[in-house]
């Protein structure tokens, strides 16, 4: 028996020593992070430490000034803007604190949108959207405009929209930040529960330890660096 025979999955997503500045502010300095497929990872850390910047770099929304980002065996940060947008549309999902829904469109329209943009036929897109609305207990609200929803309802729609195209990774930046703690927890439970069923990787930035406790693991960002609080234990 050799060790080689064991399936050792490589990381699905990896930041290798990335730097990123805004003008004179260095938001990330040699930040490294590795995420396994199917993992639910929480990113915590003080305000201004670089969490959102890291998330945007991992998602290919920003390109780092130095270092590398790898996704699914491919270098992400050197792809052209067009190829990165394409990849985001097909393989990545996003849930932010607010603002990612189109307020004038209905709940069903918003959820179907990623599929329609991906050239899925209209009827099929709405059928699949409906399925997700049911799983998120939103089936009564399909015809409502998203501008008229409560915060918790809107975040559930955002989760449905993030999951509908079956992405490999969902990026969530303070998805429960605008919600009261009970609603926030419910939203997080839905996100994590569905992601586990689907085998979707989730990277969630949060200040809330109760939200982070729904993840498999957490890392801390401090002064633009990522630290693994369990690093010492692996050595022991």
């Amino acid at each position: 028996m050799t060790v080689d025979a064991l399936p050792v999955p490589g990381p699905l997503l990896e930041a290798r020593s990335i730097d990123r500045s805004y003008g004179r502010t260095q938001a990330l300095r040699e930040a490294s992070l590795s995420v396994t497929a199917g993992e639910i990872l929480a990113i915590m850390g003080p305000s201004g430490s670089g969490k959102s910047t890291l998330l945007h770099c991992l998602a290919g929304i920003f390109t780092p000034d130095a270092g590398e980002v790898w996704f699914d065996g491919r270098r992400l940060d050197t792809l052209s803007d067009a190829r990165r947008s394409e990849l985001r549309r097909t393989s990545l999902g996003f849930v932010f604190q607010f603002g990612q829904l189109v307020p004038e469109l209905t709940v069903a329209d918003n959820v179907a949108l990623p599929l329609l943009l991906g050239k899925v036929r209209r009827k099929q897109a709405y059928q699949r959207a409906d399925g997700w609305l049911k799983r998120l207990e939103l089936d009564d609200l399909g015809e409502r405009r998203t501008g008229e929803l409560s915060g918790g309802q809107a975040q559930r729609v955002a989760i449905a929209r993030a999951l509908v195209a079956r992405p490999k990774v969902i990026f969530a930046d303070e998805p429960t930040g605008a919600l009261d703690s009970l609603t926030g927890e419910k939203v997080m439970e839905l996100l994590v529960g569905l992601a586990r069923e689907e085998g979707t990787t989730v990277i969630v930035v949060t200040h809330d330890a109760r939200v982070a406790a729904c993840a498999d693991r957490e890392v801390m960002v401090r002064d633009g660096k990522v630290t693994d609080p369990y690093a010492d234990e692996a050595v022991r």
């Binding site: 330890a209 630290t227 609080p229």
Partner: protein, 175 residues
């Protein structure tokens, strides 16, 4: 128990009389609940018996106890290990956490490292409790929630203290 370890930690700065130890303990860790003299001397007696401190010759004077206590290498080692070690994550820990941080700063140990480890210990327990909530009956979920809220409060304190470690170090540094 933190009292023996706190007393040893205070002795780890410099040898001291029982009375001065009690005064320092009350200043830093007493918080409205001063340590009775009896407990100070009985604790020191036990620590001396176990070879963790040594008591000097009694010196002439008025007070009940004029012995100077010194920490031994065994005692020093125990303090060092204790300060680095995270406490099991249970609600109502604040006094232990606080004592560890203050002593670590006084003695120049790595208080930040300790807080990182403690935070990780808390987070791990919170993950276990979330897991219990996911699968469990309502009663278990409510009990888990109670613990989660308390651990969350500890964690906020840990984060706040981490952010203010520099200022706290200034405060507890000996004049």
């Amino acid at each position: 128990m933190t009292v023996p370890l706190a007393l040893m930690g205070l002795l780890d700065r410099e040898p001291s009389y029982g009375y001065d130890l009690k005064r320092d303990y009350d200043t830093y860790f007493g918080r409205g609940k001063p340590l009775p003299f009896g407990q100070v001397y009985s604790t020191l007696g036990r620590l001396a018996r176990d070879g963790k401190v040594t008591a000097g010759q009694s010196e002439p004077g008025d007070g009940p106890d004029r012995k100077r206590y010194t920490i031994t290498p065994l005692g020093k080692q125990e303090v060092k290990v204790w300060l680095a070690e995270p406490v099991a994550a249970e609600p109502f820990l604040q006094t232990v956490l606080f004592t560890k941080v203050v002593l670590a700063l006084m003695l120049g140990h790595d208080a930040e490292r300790y807080l990182v480890t403690q935070r990780a210990t808390h987070m791990r327990r919170m993950r276990e409790l979330s897991e219990i909530k996911r699968g469990g009956a309502l009663v278990d979920a409510l009990l888990a929630d109670h613990a989660l809220f308390h651990l969350d409060a500890d964690l906020r304190w840990i984060d706040l203290t981490t952010a203010r470690l520099g200022a706290l170090a200034e405060t507890v540094r000996r004049a």
